[in-house]
């Protein structure tokens, strides 16, 4: 473990910013702290950097407790949300700052700065001032500046938030490649799950100052461990009365999370679904939204609104049309626990889910093409 957070607590007055936070990041790993705004992810990052002091708990970097070491002595690289480039210094001086304050010899500074300028493809811009750079260039300067003193750990606070959508996409890939090439252990904060999934090796999901789940992106997506994670990840639709749906009993559960990919809607003459049409129930299309690569259908099924995606390659549908709807599975939620629930009608016939798989991945199935 390169970084370990053990039982960290932090309050600002009566506001609990961190509650019993525990997680660790391995050497060379690129981790994302993912959570909605106000979930305490930036506070965690600032405590690691030493910009904020934990009320209790231990922060270990490379096995050493660093709680009492001030920010300037921790040797951590930090990329700020708005980059915080020094406005009255050139790109060169910005990158050199961390080396010159440590009184590094002049040629060592020069070599290192040029090495980083090359790495971040900023050569030729070293005499510019921050306000003469584009957003993407500024981010790269901030990155180079943080890396210059060769820190053991790199922290990035919403590194893409200040960029416009197009540049953001390009820079995600760039940053991921760059961090892996440098091989530095890194943690970045984001509220955007696409960003976390695309860039990070592992994800730490936070909510209300607590860590909800830690793991690989795929695992968090497929096996949410808490109600919050099941509601935060993917494109969740919350359904209160899910007992009205064929194949489900509400029981003690509070509500259910139904992702679009859990819902199948087909026309009654679709031969492909003839084996399972008896398990379906009628649903009326209330709204159709064109999402670019697919359609998003909102259906009213027995008074419950569900959402599904429909490939543009399938037969056209229109608002008001009656469809046959099957919900394959859903996440049932009680308090802060969540449980994957399979459609009991389908399960009766198909306890191993073998048939269902066949439908889903066959030519006309949900995941086809």
């Amino acid at each position: 473990m390169y970084l370990e957070m053990r039982n960290i607590n932090k309050s600002f007055g009566s506001f609990r910013a961190s509650e019993d936070v525990n997680f660790s990041v391995e050497k060379g790993e690129l981790a994302a702290l993912l959570g909605p705004s106000g979930s305490g992810k930036t506070t965690i990052l600032r405590m690691i950097a030493g910009l904020e002091r934990a009320d209790s708990g231990d922060i270990l970097i490379d096995g050493k407790r660093v709680n009492d070491i001030p920010a300037s002595m921790r040797g951590i690289g930090f990329v700020f949300q708005n980059y915080a480039l020094f406005r009255y210094m050139t790109v060169y001086d910005n990158i050199a700052f961390g080396l010159t304050v440590k009184k590094a010899p002049a040629d060592a500074v020069k070599n290192r700065v040029h090495e980083l300028l090359r790495l971040t493809e900023l050569e030729g811009l070293e005499k510019r001032f921050p306000n003469e750079l584009s957003g993407g260039q500024r981010q790269r300067v901030a990155f180079a500046r943080a890396l210059a003193p060769e820190p053991g750990l790199l922290l990035l606070d919403e590194p893409f938030a200040a960029l416009d959508a197009k540049v953001r996409k390009d820079l995600r890939q760039w940053l991921r490649d760059m961090i892996h090439r440098v091989g530095i252990t890194s943690i970045f904060v984001t509220h955007d799950q696409d960003e976390a999934v695309e860039v990070a090796d592992s994800i730490i999901v936070t909510n209300k100052g607590r860590v909800e789940q830690v793991g690989r992106a795929y695992k968090i997506y497929k096996e949410p461990e808490t109600a919050f994670v099941s509601q935060f990840i993917g494109e969740p639709v919350i359904v209160e009365d899910f007992g009205k749906l064929n194949g489900y009993e509400k029981g003690d559960f509070d509500r259910a999370i139904i992702r679009p990919e859990f819902v199948e809607a087909f026309k009654s003459d679709n031969a492909h679904f003839k084996d399972i049409i008896t398990y379906s129930q009628k649903g009326v299309i209330k709204d159709i939204v064109f999402k670019g690569s697919a359609l998003e259908l909102r259906l009213n099924v027995n008074g419950v609104e569900v959402v599904t995606h429909r490939s543009l390659e399938r037969r056209p549908v229109e608002v008001g049309e009656e469809m046959n709807v099957i919900i394959y599975r859903l996440f049932a939620v009680k308090d802060n626990t969540t449980e994957l629930m399979q459609n009991s009608y389908l399960l009766k016939d198909d306890p191993t889910g073998e048939k269902l798989e066949k439908y889903l991945y066959s030519d006309g199935g949900y995941f086809a093409g």
């Binding site: 002091r53 009492d68 001030p70 920010a71 300037s72």
Partner: protein, 285 residues
């Protein structure tokens, strides 16, 4: 940055600041009061109710009221002109308007003497007007001169406060109102004025404070004690006569102005908070 070190810096900074303000700014204020009461309360009351002091108070208040009105009118027009329109020479006009701010008040007095005094080029005009209407208006060494000098010295005070606020507010709302067919006056009354309201009051308070206390410019233009003297001139006269009694009287008269100053500073503090709040609301919307 050490965690402990931070505390000691804080202590040092607060101590230095408090000592500086205490010794340099607060102590003089206290000293005025102490010196004014040196000869007892009865002496104090006598000192502030002499005929010359009452006359000076009247002149001071008159000059202040006229000055604040004139400079407020100017402040409103100038701030709208400089924030809502662009024209050739705008930068120059902006710089010129601030001149009184950085010019010695004595020069202001001198300027009016050179204009309306015995050798002034405008003196014949004043004489002509006086002859034509049978008036006897004097400007230099009379109350009108005192008023003019006070206006000059505090001229940019209101506009300086209003301009940044109007700039921050932007003209989107006014453009929108104009598109909906609102007239010039309606736009001013319903949109521009509410924006500038607090800053305007704030500027007026500043202007009042400076007008009450103006000395250098008025000193050059007013020579008759008991007639054209303002309070600061009366204080000057009392102080310079040099006897212990008259010096105490000078401080007694000063305490009147100190009272005005303290009241104005409190109003100013309140207004500053108000206008800050108003601006924050502006940003939130």
């Amino acid at each position: 940055m050490g965690y402990k070190k931070k505390k000691s810096t804080r202590f040092l900074m607060i101590t230095v600041s408090t000592l500086f303000v205490g010794l340099m700014l607060f102590l003089p204020l206290v000293m005025v009061i102490i010196n004014s009461l040196k000869k007892g309360f009865e002496f104090y009351l006598q000192a502030v109710s002499t005929k010359t002091v009452i006359s000076a108070l009247k002149v001071t208040l008159l000059a202040t009221v006229i000055t604040v009105i004139v400079n407020t009118v100017f402040g409103i027009f100038a701030s709208i002109l400089l924030t809502r329109f662009s024209f050739k020479g705008k930068q120059l006009l902006q710089t010129l308007i601030d001149i009184p701010f950085s010019v010695s008040p004595v020069i202001a007095g001198l300027a009016f003497i050179m204009m309306f005094g015995r050798m002034g080029w405008a003196a014949p005009f004043v004489d002509a007007v006086n002859n034509a209407f049978g008036w006897d208006i004097k400007i230099v060494f009379a109350v009108p001169g005192v008023v003019l000098a006070t206006i000059f010295v505090t001229f940019p005070f209101v506009s300086r406060e209003v301009i940044p606020v109007l700039n921050a507010a932007g003209s989107d709302e006014e453009d929108a109102a104009a598109l909906m067919g609102a007239g010039m006056f309606t736009i001013f009354r319903r949109i521009t004025f509410p924006h500038m309201k607090w800053a305007l009051l704030y500027g007026m308070v500043l202007c009042t404070a400076r007008a009450l206390g103006e000395f250098g410019a008025v000193n050059a233009l007013s020579k008759t004690r008991g007639e054209t003297f303002t309070l600061p001139l009366e204080i000057d006269a009392l102080y310079l006569s040099g006897s212990a009694d008259s010096i105490t009287a000078a401080f007694a008269v000063s305490s009147i102005l100190v009272l005005f100053t303290v009241v104005l500073l409190v109003i100013r503090c309140v207004l500053e908070n108000r206008s800050k709040k108003a601006q924050e609301e502006q940003k939130r919307r």
